[in-house]
Amino acid sequence: MKKLINNVDDVLTESLAGFGRAHADLVDISTDPKLVTRKGGGKKGKVALISGGGSGHEPMHAGFVGMGMLDAACPGEVFTSPTPDQMLAAAEAVDGGAGILWIVKNYAGDVMNFEMAGEMYDGPTETVLTNDDVAVESSLHSQGRRGVAATVIVEKIVGAAAERGDDLAACKALGDRVNAASGTMGIALTSCTVPAAGSPTFEIGESEMELGVGIHGEPGRKRVDLMKADEIAEALIQAICESIAPSGDDDLLLLVNGMGGTPLMELYLLYNSAMNVAGERGLKIARSLVGNYCTSLEMAGASITLTKLDTEMAELWDAPVHTAALRWKA
């Protein structure tokens, strides 16, 4: 295992400390329990947005704490849901009196831990559960679909709504709407290695790729021969369209997201392929984002997300944001 680390046990603490020091103007951090909160704490009268999940998906979520997005992020161990004590401490730190909105990716562990935190927290809370990954048919099992890259879009759009003063119910409803309007599917060319595990999560041949991979290196739809970028874009967009069924009139947000080990050059190339596929299908790409936002450690690969934006969602997407990983008009 080749990583820029000291000891396997300290990866998370040291990385978090580095994040806190690099962005001391934006966030405060705590290492016990592990927590990233917006500088200055809760904003009075504003719904507080708290997300979290296993680490290894950076910049998600800590990179999205700041003006116009999250109020706090709870980083779990690598690929492991955080614990309720983190969520409770986050809630106490950023509660502005208008309620807490948990933004949770749909994994059994995350759901249960946030659920326990919600039960323990003394104050109004709501949860937006993201489940945008169209790779796994929900009919196959009762766990439902996984939450992946569209979580970033939910956090941005709902973050802007909270910032302008929307109440808890409105934020929750908007988050559900954005999630329902989104579909994502990803592929992996290589595996990732959980530091503490020390060996790759899965084996994959030199001419294979995993179609529909999860953001923890979980298998997806199937193991296939390496595909060209154009074919990948076609396969992913096809699967997404089957789920969210966009029409030619919809304003779409296209996110081409890197898994961590794929360089920008390839992401822009895949974005170009995706734009071509969108064009052929008569889809209207109104907003775009290309980069590493919801990653899987050093895995090589990418995902494509499409979100059908209504006018309000588009406005909120465009609204100012100032976080470590997403910043505009501020």
Binding site: G54, G76, E77, V78, F79, T80, S81, P82, T83, P84, D85, Y107, A108, G109, M112, N113, E115, M116, V136, L140, H141, S142, Q143, R146, V194, A196, A197, S199, T201, F202, G214, H216, G217, E218, P219, G220
Partner: protein
């Protein structure tokens, strides 16, 4: 064995087996999950080891509740809330120390109900429940420690051919078949450890 000695022995045995098999649990979880089950369990049981003195000073019921809360707060993932709920609700049901097999069976049932509720799941989904539930049956039937251990092993092995419909393994669909479930394995390990302690006492 008085209650304090028993609690100490249980803590020691459970923590030891988890520590010893942590690599194996991680490997199992790499096959059909995300490869952290060994680390999760080890983190949780190390935290329990650290509070062994405090636990030994409590009643069995309070010790179970406290250990459960520690798992909830330290483990994360799916196994934290699930094992945490198991112990916490066992502890709640153990207002008095269990006197016989029937008491133990009732404890276990209470804990298992909490797991089912928290995990929105039941037997047959290829999870820890597929070991815990059969074992509880054997306990209720008055089976001795040998019978309990045998039932746990059998039940564990039976998860191999199951299709996962809960937890991360569910995302694999058909590909989850052919591997035993990591949580079922950790449950079997814990049951063995508990049986060994009871046998020695």
């Amino acid at each position: 064995m008085d209650e304090a000695t028993l609690i100490r022995a249980l803590v020691a045995a459970c923590c030891a087996t988890i520590e010893e098999h942590s690599g194996e649990l991680t490997k199992l979880d790499q096959a059909i999950g995300d490869g952290d089950h060994g680390l999760n369990m080890s983190r949780g049981f190390k935290a329990i080891t650290a509070e062994a003195d405090a636990l030994a000073a409590m009643s069995l019921g309070d010790a179970l509740k406290k250990a459960g809360m520690t798992l909830v707060m330290k483990v994360g993932g799916a196994s934290g809330p699930l094992y945490g709920s198991l112990l916490m609700d066992m502890g709640k049901a153990a207002s008095t120390a269990p006197a016989n097999e029937a008491d133990v069976a009732q404890l276990l049932r209470a804990g298992i109900d909490a797991v089912k509720k928290r995990g929105k799941s039941d037997v047959g989904a290829k999870t820890m429940l597929d070991v815990l539930v059969p074992v509880a049956e054997t306990v209720a039937e008055g089976g001795n420690v040998d019978a309990i251990r045998a039932r746990a092993d059998e039940a564990l092995e039976a998860t191999r051919d199951m299709l996962a419909t809960k937890g991360r393994a569910a995302f694999l669909g058909e590909r989850s078949i052919g591997h035993i479930d990591p949580g079922a394995r950790s449950s079997a390990l814990l049951i063995h450890a508990v049986c060994n302690v009871l046998e020695a006492s």
